[in-house]
Amino acid sequence: MPDIGGYSLRFALVIALLGFGSAIYAGAQRRSEWTRVAERSVWVVFAFVSVAMIALFYALATFDFQLLYVARHSARSMDLHYRLAALWGGQAGSLLLWLWMLMAYGVASVWFNRTKNRTLMPWVVAVVLANALFFLVLVTLVTEPFERLQPGDTLSDGDGLNPLLQHPVMMIHPIVLYIGLVGFVIPFAFAFAALVTGELDTNWFRTTRRWTLFPWLFLSIGIMLGGRWAYEVLGWGGYWAWDPVENASFMPWLPATAFLHSVMIQEKRNMLKTWNLLLIGLTYTLCLFGTFLTRSGIVQSVHAFAQSPIFTSIFLGYVLFSAVVFFSAVALRRKEIRSPNRIESVVSREAGFLLNNWVFISLLVWIFTGTLFPVVSEIFQGEQITVGPAFFPIMAGPLALFLLFLTGVGPLIAWRRASLASVTKQFRWPAIVGLITSLVVWYALGEGAAYYPIMCWGLGAFSVGTIVQEYALAIRARVRKGEENVLQAFSALLRKNQQRYGGYIVHLGAVLIIAGMAGSVFDEERLENIRTGDEFEIGGYRLQYLTATALPMQHYGGAVARLALYRGEKPLGVMTPEKRMYWLEQQPASIPSIYSTLRDDLYITLTAIEADGSATFKVYRNPMVNWIWIGGCVFVLGSLAVMWPHPDRSRAPKVG
């Protein structure tokens, strides 16, 4: 079975090469029969790569420890679902997963465009296969997932998977993240095809918008799942540490989000064409670059993969090559894509969207600088200087406030030129709501008042105010016409203008997330060393240490501490932080215990049971963390509302 996997990857490499050739020929000579050939080769490559995936799954499921990959990343003691998830627990396997997803996207784009965008398709296929060729070369020549151990070294058991990854969220997190990162290849390919063919009118980006929304949604979910996993498993009390690997997944999200906004200006006003192409190029380049960062380990990170220099240089070459080709194509076509329209007034929706784009890009520049600072300082100064996690919020905080403001203003203000009267009329109530909220927060915080939450929650309330007002006005108008009740009107709005009203829900989610994060200003943490029976207090909670007992033996052992939790005299339950030891991997892990409410989370980890019998706990009180996850759910629902294929809309005339 492993042989089948290895061979099918080699076949896939040959077919991809032939398919790439026919795609280029079809594009250059405008031979549509060759386009079909190239498209079929996408199907064939997909089939061969799928066989390789199945072969690796099979090897993991059947304990085939002759394979280096299986021996390194699984063990007999692991449950079947975690053994299968080990496919993306290591380097070679996750490259294979990336390749498979790339081909799945390729097949989908070929299928959905079988009767449209015919002149673009050869170039789309060429881009997909060029990317596939790179990954095929990696998995057949550089890091082979089907590499065998020497016959003498065959093992009876494997090394197992990092226990921290043996968590339900971690089974799906990499897949979700990859669906996001890899998916941007399709908008990238369409943009490139439009550049090569010179068909830079409206077709490519209408097609591209939907293909961007889909991976963008998955990337958003992936980032949030990563935060959730860190919070539940890593036990340091937070969800985001500005680690290079986290930044690597967040950086492409920024230009992608900017694109989804600015593409609307192109749609309505035929402006910013070049800018949109650049954003798409930047997004995909950052997806590849982020993968490179994670894989190469050039930046110190808790969870980067250690790598060989050959791999690093090949991957960096690939990232640079694809960026150079794309951006030179934009440069060569720059005269043709110059937009005929200009911004007419600074007080207009165009200007609002443009500002929004600048904010996203500034955020990107800041995060990029911080992430690569050690590398750059090493090159120029000969000394590695790292910037701590405190570096990033310096700018991210104020920019988030600015975004909250734009979230409220942008969608309401008129296109072209807004009059003072209309601005006053539209923003009167939301502005009042925002101001009152700020004042209430200021008053409620009393001595502990800090500017950030006052501004943040005030602006958040302002944004939510605009959203509620938009819905209320539109629903009232529909209900007054008769025949519809409030709920029917609500769903009609989402159906008839899903981009706008779905977008508002996405904004609502984003506001909740940012508001929840602002709660971190009031985070409290304590380190306590206590004996059984002792108590301590934190932020209105009282904890009493009851006992510590040994964990029942499984593939891990260790201790669990029990603490009674009270608010005042009211008992809230028992907290059970664990200190685990995974025998096989010889790796300890602290699993936190979390008491979670809408107001705050009480988060406790067992740091150590000391030699003298006392126990050391790290306790955090994290206000409003739950609003981040709630906001995340709202965000996802809103995105689904934007993307939902309504039958009456999809029957719109097909173009091309």
């Binding site: 390194r72 808790v302 007034s345 590695q384 570096f391 300890p588």
Partner: protein, 149 residues
């Protein structure tokens, strides 16, 4: 004044404000930290006098002492992993001003300690307020690692 100029002025004003904000706040955050191996750190006295550094090394065998009364952990860091048996230079005395040690912190662990050098009673001591420990295999063992294990 054309719209282009208006926008340019607006953009410059915003960029200036943001830049000013960023620049003034950078000092406030203890952000910039030198990252050095223990050898580099010991070889460069300039960076030793109180500057905040991150120093990379390995926990010396049997050197960890948890002082629960004072809520501190004492240990030594050396520049090679103890179990390899290779020659190691003079170790660095480290005191972590917390009992909060990471899960992977133990004898021989690869660590990065963050803090600064202070004068102690028995010579200079590296006072760390942060410590990171690395899993020896990380997510992916390097080929040499697995040959040993």
């Amino acid at each position: 004044m054309t719209k282009g100029v208006q926008i340019a002025i607006g953009a410059t004003a915003i960029a200036g404000l943001i830049g000013w904000y960023g620049a003034t706040n950078l000092d406030a955050a203890p952000s910039f930290t030198y990252y050095k191996s223990l050898e580099e750190f010991q070889a460069n006295p300039g960076a030793r006098s109180g500057a905040r550094s991150r120093v990379h090394g390995y926990v010396a065998a049997n050197s960890i002492r948890r002082d629960i009364e004072a809520m501190q952990v004492h240990f030594r860091v050396q520049n090679t992993a103890p179990h390899t048996g290779s020659e190691s230079g003079p170790p660095l005395e480290v005191v972590l001003v917390s009992l909060e040690t990471p899960d992977l912190f133990k004898d021989g662990a690869e660590v990065v300690v963050e803090g600064h050098l202070v004068a102690g009673s028995g010579g200079p001591v590296f006072e760390a307020d942060k410590i990171l420990a690395k899993c020896p295999s990380k997510f992916e063992a390097t080929p040499t690692d697995s040959a040993e294990s």
